[in-house]
């Protein structure tokens, strides 16, 4: 029974002792958020391009080797490239026409906008991929509760339910096999839809049942009482964490400044 949440320590493409990988999960979260907020304000090639370039410079300290990064970031690529292409093809036309087919045309303006969209998704996605790849869910929950002071009930319940997602994937496979064994599932698209809905329902029933037992287990070990709890694993901030957030801030300021300087800065809210 495999678990959906990857175990970062089992991946050879990762070095969890790298300076950035080692920072507190809350610091990594803050750094990615700073960069994302800075880049969300404007869609322009220079800001996004400079941010991405600076991130690439920081990559050697992140502990994610390029191949591992590609494997884990494939979802970002799948989102960024089509979004850029769609913008280039269907986006607002301006400047010289580079190619045209009927009503659809690619102009220098729409091509630049497409490139900006793709670069921006990469620049926002890269820190996210690093965060998720180098952070153990348990450490994240510890940090959210102890450093960010989120309620322990919330973070621990979320952490425990994460484990059940892995079981649900295995359960879904069993449900699919069982439906074939029962003679169901080859009666056209409508029948397939009905089967799928029934299967989702069955999965929910099973998940609720299992979650109920898990809740009993947690409760019988004292979870959910009002009293203060202690933490077996200490999570606290270190000077490295401040450095990471300051670095992210500097990166964002530099990227925006470059955009403004180049005249491409184009805040969406103005």
């Amino acid at each position: 029974m495999s678990i959906a949440v990857a175990d970062p320590r089992a991946d050879s493409g990762l070095d969890l002792h790298a300076p950035i990988a080692r920072t507190n999960p809350v610091a990594k979260l803050a750094a990615s958020t700073v960069i994302a907020l800075g880049l969300l304000i404007s869609v322009d090639v220079v800001t996004a391009g400079v941010a991405l370039a600076l991130e690439a410079l920081a990559l050697p300290w992140c502990g994610v080797r390029p191949r591992a990064l590609l494997r884990r970031g494939v979802i970002v690529v799948l989102g960024a490239v089509p979004a850029g292409v769609a913008t280039a093809v269907f986006g607002e036309d301006s400047g010289s026409v580079l190619a045209a087919l009927g009503p659809v045309s690619i102009t220098s303006g729409s091509l630049l906008a497409g490139a900006a969209i793709t670069l921006r998704i990469f620049a926002i996605g890269l820190p996210g991929v690093v965060l998720l790849s180098t952070t153990d869910p348990t450490d994240l929950a510890d940090a959210l509760a102890q450093v960010a002071r989120l309620p322990a009930r919330f973070t621990l319940a979320a952490l425990a339910s994460l484990r059940l997602f892995g079981l649900m994937a295995a359960e879904w496979r069993s449900l699919s096999l069982a439906r074939r064994a029962r003679g169901i599932g080859d009666s056209g698209p409508l029948g397939a839809l009905r089967t799928a809905l029934g299967q989702v329902f069955a999965l929910l029933v099973l998940a609720i049942r299992r979650a109920t037992v898990l809740a009993t287990t947690m409760e019988s070990r004292g979870f959910g009482s009002r009293r203060e709890r202690t933490w077996a694993r200490e999570s606290r901030l270190h000077w490295r964490d401040g450095l990471l957030v300051a670095g992210a801030l500097a990166l964002t300021v530099l990227a925006v400044a470059a955009g403004v300087r180049a005249g491409t800065w184009n805040p969406v809210l103005s």
Partner: protein, 515 residues
């Protein structure tokens, strides 16, 4: 690590679940002295689990008093009579657990049956520490107590070992360590081995034995399998549904006087084990399906789960597939049943089974497959698709366009044969474990398949359901159906199997689930 053992006392105690008319338990009188070890027996539905949950303080404190000594609780249930731990109400047990000068000792610790649902965190050490953190034990004391609990249950992996890679037996051991770390004075085990294979049962039983020896804690175990626990306990108590305690005394004595009655209600009593049915073997046994050098892999994997399997299945003959967890037994069953394509090698469905559809069952349409090969999954709930028991049985025949009259006749016959008639309108998900198992077998039979593939059909069943299943399978075999059963159950193998295929553990160690 001795703990202070807790005394349990019940006087006229009873419980009624929210919205139910009948009492789950009523009039329970019971005294368990500190350090005593008690095995709690009774038919399913006798309220044994409810009693344990009440002792663990999980039913919550009473919120108001209704008429004549009946109290209503937070969860809507009602209680009557008294249930105390060391003279104080068990309902308040959880509220009272506290750390005195950094030394936590909880009143009770509860272990449940589903290993998968009792692991809270991703690393073994963290999982054990979880209860200590909740009880506000200071950090510098947590890790020594985690290590102590892990070594007490004989856990071999380190603190950092991922819980996802544990077998069912190891997982129960870990859950036991999580309970023990709180140093409970009363250890409550609710069918802790029901979902374990024989090795897992052994592993856990040894752990529990070591633990009660070392801590001196009071022990109350609920189990159907008497043999595993009888040597460990001082007393056996028998509960009757809604009727309180009907027998209480030394194990040999209680089992001698009540053994036959308990066995008739499904308890596995050593001297009253169900007998294997006599079976006439027919002279002709047509070949149904054979494999040669077959490799099988779990869905989405290219790594063989079992390799080089040679297997011959014939009508009227039963093959048992056995072997350790992770040897690929279930995967092999899924491939033979036409649910998953083979990885390499030959698998041929012969004409008496294929009836014109070609030799590769995984290429058959689902509807045609169900008419030829019936599959019974380890977890009955996985194969339920309808909202009533009756509709559930009609699904297969209906898909094959069996006529109305014939369909009703088949469904009625199965309802009758598997004692499900009174449940015809019930939702399959609401049935008890034994009823669900009988229904899952009935659904596979409704399409009259020539080959029946069963994955751990007797797993976790009481002795009565076991005897019924074995009798039914013997009947099917006499009628010429071929049977392949994946099982850990030696009694099933010796009762039915004509051949046994023992799968070796796979070379690469897989994360072993409950096979």
């Amino acid at each position: 690590m001795p703990t202070r053992p807790v005394a349990l006392r019940a006087r006229g105690w009873g419980w009624r679940h929210a919205g139910r008319r009948a009492w789950a338990l009523r009039g329970v009188d019971l005294d368990v002295a500190p350090g005593e070890r008690v095995l709690l027996l009774g038919p399913s539905g006798a309220g044994k689990s409810t009693l344990l949950a009440a002792c663990a303080g999980l039913l919550g404190p009473p919120t108001r008093t209704l008429t004549d000594g009946v109290h209503e609780h937070e969860n809507g249930g009602q209680s009557v009579g008294e249930l105390t731990l060391d003279g104080r109400p068990a309902a308040l047990a959880r509220v009272r657990d506290r750390v005195v000068a950094g030394q936590l000792s909880a009143a009770t610790g509860l272990l449940l049956q589903d290993p998968d649902a009792q692991t809270v965190l991703a690393r073994c050490g963290d999982d054990v520490a979880f209860g200590l953190e909740n009880h506000a034990v200071p950090r510098h004391e947590i890790w020594p107590r985690v290590d102590e609990a892990l070594s007490l249950v004989g856990f071999r992996q380190g603190r950092d070992h991922p819980t996802a890679r544990l077998s069912g037996g190891e997982r129960q051991r870990l859950a036991l360590a999580g309970v023990l770390a709180l140093r409970p004075g009363l250890l409550l085990l609710d069918e802790p081995t029901a979902m374990l294979d024989p090795d897992g049962v052994d592993l856990l039983r040894r752990s529990v034995s070591d633990v009660v020896e070392a801590t001196g804690a009071t022990l109350v175990v609920v189990e159907h399998r008497v043999a595993a626990w009888v040597d460990l306990v001082d007393r056996v108590v028998v509960l009757e549904a809604g009727g309180g305690v009907i027998a209480d005394g030394p194990p040999a004595d209680v089992l001698h006087r009540h053994g036959a009655a308990l066995a008739a209600r499904g308890v596995w009593v050593p001297a009253h084990l169900p007998a294997a049915p006599a079976r006439r073997r027919s002279a002709t046994a047509p070949a149904l399906l054979s494999t040669q050098g077959l490799d099988v892999a779990r869905p989405g994997s290219r790594q063989p789960a079992a390799s080089d399997v040679d297997l011959q299945l014939h009508g009227g003959r039963a093959v048992a597939v056995t072997g350790p967890n992770g040897a690929g037994k279930s995967t092999l069953a899924h491939v033979v049943a036409g649910l998953v394509p083979p990885l390499h090698g030959g698998l041929v469905a012969h004409e008496p089974l294929a009836r014109g559809l070609g030799p590769a069952p995984h290429r058959w349409k689902a509807r045609d497959l169900a008419a030829r090969i019936g599959t019974v999954f380890q977890e009955p709930q996985h194969q339920f698709v309808a909202t009533t028991v009756r509709d559930e049985l009609a699904v297969g025949p209906h898909r094959q366009r069996v006529g109305e009259t014939e369909l009703n006749a088949r469904v009625d016959e199965l309802l009758e044969r598997l004692r499900l008639g009174h449940l015809a309108r019930a939702n399959p998900f609401t049935l008890s474990g034994g009823e669900q198992r009988r229904l899952s077998v009935a659904t596979a039979l409704a399409t009259r398949p020539g080959l029946l593939v069963l994955d751990e059909p007797t797993f976790g069943q009481d002795s009565r359901t076991w005897a019924e299943l074995v009798a039914l399978l013997a009947e099917l075999l006499e009628a010429g159906t071929g049977v392949l059963a994946v099982t850990h159950d030696r009694a099933l193998v010796s009762a039915l199997a004509d051949d046994e295929l023992v799968l070796a553990p796979s070379r690469r160690r897989e994360p072993a689930g409950v096979s």
